[in-house]
Symmetry: C2
Amino acid sequence: MGTQGQNDSSRQPTVKEVALLAGVSPMTVSRTLNGGKSVRLEVQQRVIDAVQMLGYQRNENARSIRPGQPSGLVGVAITNIANPYYGNFALGVEDIASQRGRRIILGTTGEDSARERQLIADFIGRQVEGLILVPSGGRSDHLQPNRLRGTPLVLASRMAAGVDVDAVIVDDIGGALRGTQALLDVGHTRIGYLGNDASTFTGMRRFQGFRQALVAAGLAADPRHVRLGQNDISEAALAATDVLMSPDAPTALFAANNRNAVGALKAIGELLAHGRPLETMPALVSFDSFELSELMPVPVVVVDHDARELGRQAATMLFRRLDGDPDAPAVVVEMPTVVRNSRR
Amino acid sequence: MGTQGQNDSSRQPTVKEVALLAGVSPMTVSRTLNGGKSVRLEVQQRVIDAVQMLGYQRNENARSIRPGQPSGLVGVAITNIANPYYGNFALGVEDIASQRGRRIILGTTGEDSARERQLIADFIGRQVEGLILVPSGGRSDHLQPNRLRGTPLVLASRMAAGVDVDAVIVDDIGGALRGTQALLDVGHTRIGYLGNDASTFTGMRRFQGFRQALVAAGLAADPRHVRLGQNDISEAALAATDVLMSPDAPTALFAANNRNAVGALKAIGELLAHGRPLETMPALVSFDSFELSELMPVPVVVVDHDARELGRQAATMLFRRLDGDPDAPAVVVEMPTVVRNSRR
DNA sequence: TTGATTATTGGTAACGATATCATGAAGAGT
DNA sequence: ACTCTTCATGATATCGTTACCAATAATCAA
């Protein structure tokens, strides 16, 4: 009935069947499909017709077991795709990878080191040409080059202790410092902090930037107003509410990532809905931008960087490694951040 | 130096090398790795030690070329990961897939039918066990079951014309109708519309629900206030500004998806920043929720459904198909939507 | 016309893993 | 002691593809 694909057996056709139909050897089919060097045009046409007729699709897995044949896959492990930050990151990786004819296998670690280890092993088992990982912290011996058997690895956003590989990170310290500075400049002196667990790379660095800014202003962080380790919006909202309801509540909050910023704003929304006056609501610094920050009821200072560009950068580093010297020294690129007020 | 992985050659070890080290045949290694039936415990231990020692990782691609051996891969093609809606969708698919021991290969079509075709072909070439696709519209002969050679396909969010396969869609018509109704109920009579191209499945259905609600109220859509085909936030913002600046500007806007809703709100933010009074700003219906909708300066009616659940549902249907009868009739599930006001 | 070169094609083997069958050893039942 | 199982193991062949080499035909220089 259809114009093609007459053989509707459920098995996929192979070179052999194409060869049979075209009246040539499998080798000639293979050659035709790989550029047609040393195959007569007329024969090539016969092969192409047979491919069309059968709906033949080369088995990339079989192809990749031959030595020297790349798999065309790049493994990407992030902590959480639901976070639009990482969605954008993955998109950036895909931008570059698809330009280079590679596909992405995506996995999420959920900040779990054991799952990360398993994911990496699986990626390697699938013969990925390279790995891009947002490491989740914890033990990281599974990331050592000798464990990866020559598969290049690029870390993104965070580095991993004791692992000497290419990495793209963000100017966490500077960004946090300047973001905090912006709050101090407009007179805030009691600033709460909502952030990642201190054991994570970015968590540590952003907190460090935050403290540096306070110290420079002769202030110190009030431990009662510091909450670490919230991993999703609802945990962040709870922590924010808690801080805002405490005695001597801070007049501003520093949210060290997207999830904590959104959670803090949800908490503020709740308090407003319960009748707390707008004037008592804190200002906010958000490390990582989020959509519509300019429409928030409280002033928001955004410490922004382009997650998609971070992904592009990571992928670019990976391909540079794949094209070039696998043993060249590891490179760490620090991407700049932009601090801006959500309101003009 | 490390406690394991002594052989630091860059090539990956194979069963053969493990077998040699353990003093057994490759077959015994394979058996051990697949559950250890019919292998003495002591021998299994030797094999496991050798695996550890060499850092052996089974080559899944080689494995999958044997007939009957599944690849463990599910192909997921969405239009755009940067849209958090699809990020959540992908996460939902991954939830179920990883439970079932499968990995996801992710690709983005960018609403481009040719790219979709190529992506699907590539996925099939990689021997995916199944496909989950948000179809981008346009020709869809490449989605016909006979072209897919028995690889199960589940469509999500949208259906494709003339393609009779499993699908999970959303109650677009009912959601749009009830969302519009909510605006009519509070007295709006001039409602603008920002939506997908009318050729897309959801675009058509949501517009249909919108019009049904108007017709039921004895009204009609004003063509000057209908804008279709905006694919990203900035295009949506331009369209929204245009509508809002036009004579007889509507008092409310219906945004048929997340991107258009955010774009409309950005436009509103701009206008407010330029001094337009809040009272002249339109109310909004957003089909698809977005973060912090409750903090928006204008009232927002959200027509919500759970994208992650949509992904889970699609994956569940795929596995049901993989486990069960490949020839059972296609099933279409319509997920309900919830209409709510962003403010209490 | 002849020998040499080149272009086109196919045969064979190999990639890594495993299903199948064959082999041998150990134990059970008579 | 002897057959009948059962268990543990290995040899071989195979999956789909392509590198390598051999074989043939076509072209060219002298």
